[in-house]
């Protein structure tokens, strides 16, 4: 068991998060307050919420774990994940925010229903698909939280999951997006300062930037190359990876809904650059801490993990334990990891709550439902999604990164084309969007399954396909949108004008 200082530090963090939830709950007057914070978020709260939403469990544990396993060819993750914030703001956010102000959108599904003149079918499909992909993603987050609690306290997995779930669930359920946004502010600042202080210590302990590169290059020359010669992280894979992370994360429901919450569209002017620089530095340091962990393991300083399902994801925890011989600092680092994970988890749960209570219940099943019942249902769904994913996270995958990429890949194949075509192509039709979203989702689930379980069928080894599996589903989604739209009735010009559809970002 952990010492008293560790328990105090982690408990204080949990109490602070619950305090934010209680404070935020007093600001909630209606569903709009709960789901989009009354569209009143300021510049830095928005930027830090975007960073907090994108920075997930993978960002601390999985990123370092992947760096440990595969070296520099995986560095593209550190470029395209921070860029996803800018892509989201520039290509989706500006137009969605402007249209949402006049049309009163609460969720992106509101936009899709309006733009494609499909108040029931596309809205329901989009919400159900959003809930499925968010749940996949959420399982990865709870796995990461429980890993940290197990490492720090030596408690069983089930207990770690229960603690993590309870705290996140309570402050999200009572405080809605105000709680998520302000918790993200605290969590992102904690994360940024913590990583800027602690990652250089790990790197220094392993011999410094140049020495680590030189050492891992002697272990395997491919580890310091920008890509692998074949297979995963070969050039074609890197291109599909860039699309996966840059575009897939940008259109993920829990990320894109953030653009509806800001007070002023002018915040979108410099936020892409600021988010790219801040988060780019943080996530690069984390990746390099993984390289340092590899140098420590190969140099015999620390032992490689055994006896756990996902050993590489523990490398940064073992490296920090080796580099900072002080249990209080471990506790602080644990809080940093918890902050990163919880800042994504809370947003995901709230997004699931919004998609179910607003898009499915209020807009499809019971249009005459009053605001109080929608608000109550949002809170109930947040609680149920937390409990459901906690149960799913009991058996974690071999590598956290794989599961989280599966979630992002499914988001890419499902949402990217209907959103991009809706915003920029006046020829995109309702039937095209339905076909694109349905086939994209099904193809992503199928290819993801075949790839994850290394199926060899029809003469194809799905474990060794040259692109990330989501790229194939993305292409199917694109072809379906173009082909079906060309054959079906066009959207009314009035709707296209109302939704500012056309080849421009802003007029």
């Amino acid at each position: 068991m952990a010492d008293i200082i560790t328990i105090i530090v982690v408990s204080l963090y949990f109490i602070a998060m619950l305090g934010i939830g209680v404070w935020a709950s007093k600001k909630i007057k209606n569903t709009e307050d709960y789901l989009v914070a009354g569209r009143q978020l300021g510049f830095w709260v928005f930027i830090l919420m975007m960073i907090g939403t994108v920075c997930s469990g993978m960002s601390l544990l999985g990123v370092a774990g992947l760096g440990y396993k595969a070296g520099w060819p995986t560095i593209w993750e550190q470029i395209f994940v921070p860029l996803a914030i800018g892509i989201c703001i520039i290509f989706f956010g500006v137009k969605l925010h402007n249209v949402a102000k006049t049309s009163g959108y609460i969720t992106v599904q509101d936009y899709l229903a309006h733009r494609y003149e499909s108040p029931t079918a596309l809205r329901t499909l989009s919400a159900v698909a959003g809930i499925i992909v968010s749940l996949i993603y959420l399982v990865g987050q709870y796995t990461a939280i429980s890993m940290v609690l197990i490492w720090l306290f030596g408690i069983p997995l089930w207990l770690a999951l229960v603690i993590a779930t309870l705290v996140t669930m309570v402050y999200t359920a009572i405080g809605g997006l105000y709680a998520v946004a302000w918790a993200s502010l605290v969590q992102s600042v904690t994360l940024i300062i913590g990583v800027l202080v602690m990652a250089p210590i790990i790197i220094w302990k392993a011999g410094g930037f140049t020495a680590v590169n030189e050492f891992i290059g002697t272990v395997n020359p491919n580890l310091v190359m920008p890509w692998n010669p074949t297979g995963a992280f070969a050039p074609p894979y890197v291109v599909s990876f860039a699309i996966l992370l840059g575009l897939g994360l940008a259109c993920a429901p829990h990320v894109i809904n953030n653009v509806l919450t800001v007070k002023d569209v002018k915040y979108f002017k410099w936020s892409p650059l600021i988010a790219f620089v801040i988060y780019g530095i943080v996530i690069f340091l984390l990746k390099f801490a993984g390289f340092a962990g590899l140098a420590m393991v190969k140099g015999g300083e620390i032992a490689a993990r055994t006896g756990v399902a996902n050993p590489t994801d523990y490398v940064i925890l073992d490296a920090i334990q080796n580099s900072l011989p002080n249990v209080t600092l471990w506790a602080i680092f644990a809080v940093i990891v918890l902050a990163a994970v919880m800042s994504t988890t809370d947003r995901l749960m709230l997004t699931i709550g919004a998609m179910f209570s607003w898009d499915i219940y209020k807009k499809v099943l019971k249009p005459d439902a009053d605001d109080a019942s929608v608000l109550l249902l949002s809170k109930i769904v947040v609680v149920l999604s937390a409990i459901g994913t906690m149960i799913l996270a009991i058996n974690p995958p071999e590598m956290l990164a794989i599961l989280i990429w599966m979630g992002i890949g499914t988001m890419l194949a499902t949402f990217a084309i209907p959103l991009l075509a809706g915003l920029y192509w006046r020829g995109a039709t309702r039937e095209g969007a339905l076909a694109s979203m349905t086939l994209g989702l099904l193809a992503a689930l199928l290819f993801g399954f075949l790839n994850y379980f290394k199926v060899n069928a029809m003469g194809i080894d799905f474990a060794a396909i040259p692109l990330h599996f989501s790229a194939y589903a993305f292409i199917i989604s694109l072809v379906a949108m173009i082909g079906v739209s060309l054959l079906t009735k066009k959207t009314a010009e009035k709707v296209l004008d109302e939704t500012q559809t056309g080849w421009y970002i802003s007029k």
Binding site: W76, F209, P226, V265, L273, G280, S506
Partner: protein, 34 residues
């Protein structure tokens, strides 16, 4: 440099610089409106 092959520095550095330049350009040119 930094214990890395030139190709790594050029490829990674080049992409980072290009993205940064594009985001600076966006910041300088985007006016925004409500």
């Amino acid at each position: 440099m930094f214990g890395l092959p030139d190709i790594t520095i050029i490829a990674v550095g080049g992409v980072v610089l290009a993205i940064t330049a594009a985001l600076v350009y966006w910041g300088l040119t985007f006016q925004g409106h409500d």
